[in-house]
Symmetry: C2
Subunit: 252 residues, 2 copies
DNA sequence: GACCTCGGTTGCGTATGTTGCAACGACTGT
DNA sequence: ACAGTCGTTGCAACATACGCAACCGAGGTC
């Protein structure tokens, strides 16, 4: 809708990848470099980018500032923090907290595992719904109509041999997830990692977010992963309690 | 330079404070609401903003995503992380990592203290150079000419009775900081808090960032604070080593 | 040391994108 | 049912942001 803004935001994405030079950026988004220069200058005034030397542009501090304000306002993150940190400390595995946004999963918090298997995830990163344990938990929690609508309109790219690739299979899986109260990603997203996830609920029993544990397959086989489910559920229950949830359903 | 972009970025700042309604935002930046709507839509497409219901706008996930990419690229933060986390765990006090940017201090990392005295700081937040321990460390590390230039062109608002308010006093303080190798903020920024800070150095001995500990005065008197200096310096030394610094100065 | 290239910067005229307006529509609460 | 509030749309006028081309300044090469 707004051209210059649109271009500026695209610029930010490019710069985020790593520090770029001017014509480089101009070429990338297909506009004249003078245009890019003006946009960058405005971004710089607002501290969204900073110059490194003369050549290079990097993301600036306004970015962190706003992001942290935003994170603070997401209260599930705060209320779930102690329980998830404890889970992470106890098991040593990577723990994620994620929520649904616009047809995708967004990671809103992450506790790095002790085993330094670098996972390609990051707070703020988005991931597909069909091949992540958190995605399944979040969609399974929606009203049946919405769930169906989303499942039918999604794409199902096969990222590994195990990825679910049809709406029918996905809906069946969601039904299972709803019944069991947790979800599994059996190497459906990345070949060498499998995950389990469970919901964090709020005062009205609604699902606020999903918490997951991700474990490299070399560290723990499928059975071993499933054995962690009670541990995960203990943590999500504690997180739910801190988010206003009460055992006996809705209280009003 | 670019009007629409400028307005959009201002919008983001307003939204960050807390979720706002449309005309509210329009009034705040003094433009027609239809204009605001269009800008917000573009921001929304890029996930910089998300709608909550229809009325309210919140910061979106692109914010976190970019911010975390940016933070990852700041390598002092990564390399200092273990030492500072340990310092924080050991003492229970709030630890900050900060760097210099455009006449101000920017916090690039924070480890919350155990004693929940809510300090008004946040990763990405900016603070003045003249009344913070980290500010003193960072400016003291600059070349004399630059140091003088900055000291002379700064403003010296008196935030507490202890705040340094003249360039002369500030320059004298910097000299002391350079000599001692650490800086103190004796309730010069906030009445009830005092801090100590020390530099984190890189491969060429240059100061990459400053690390600080902030302690409420009720918890520890001035003498007690100074007693923590060796502890802090141990941590910054460790952080420096992990950032490529070597004891015996420049190695090339 | 002079030349050349590459990248950043500037001024300017034009057209394009953006703006404000006013009318519409959806929703809330009384 | 009505009034008020807030979000949304189409349109025409204008200002703004655009691309161009020429100008610098620095780094590298011969």
């Amino acid at each position: 809708m707004s051209q210059s803004l649109d271009r500026a935001l695209t610029l930010l994405n490019s710069i985020a990848k790593d520090a770029r030079t001017l014509d480089d950026l101009a070429a990338e988004i297909g506009v004249h470099k003078s245009t890019v220069l003006r946009l960058l200058r405005t971004l710089e005034q607002h501290h969204f980018v900073r110059r490194e030397g003369t050549r290079y542009y990097r993301l600036g501090s306004a970015m962190f500032d706003l992001a942290n304000q935003a994170l603070d306002s997401i209260d599930v993150r705060r209320s779930a923090q102690p329980a998830l940190a404890a889970l992470n400390a106890r098991t040593g595995h990577t723990v994620h907290l994620a929520s649904y946004d616009d047809g995708e999963v967004v990671y809103i918090d992450k506790y790095e595992g002790r085993h330094s298997v670098r996972m390609y995830s990051r707070v703020g990163k988005r991931a597909p719904l069909h091949c992540t344990a958190v995605g399944k938990v979040l969609v399974a929690a929606m009203a049946p109509a919405r769930r169906e609508e989303i499942a039918r309109s999604m794409k199902y790219p096969a990222l590994t041999p195990n990825t679910i690739t049809t709406p029918e299979a996905y809906l069946a899986e969601l039904e299972r997830v709803g019944r069991l109260g947790y979800a599994v990603d059996n190497a459906e997203h990345e070949d060498f990692i499998h995950c389990i996830a469970a919901p964090v609920r709020g005062a009205d029993g609604e699902v606020l977010a999903a918490a997951s544990m991700s474990v490299p397959k070399v560290l723990l086989d499928y059975e071993g992963l499933l054995a962690l489910v009670p541990d995960l559920r203990a943590a999500t229950t504690e997180a739910s309690v801190h988010s206003g949830w009460t055992e006996n359903g809705k209280g009003h």
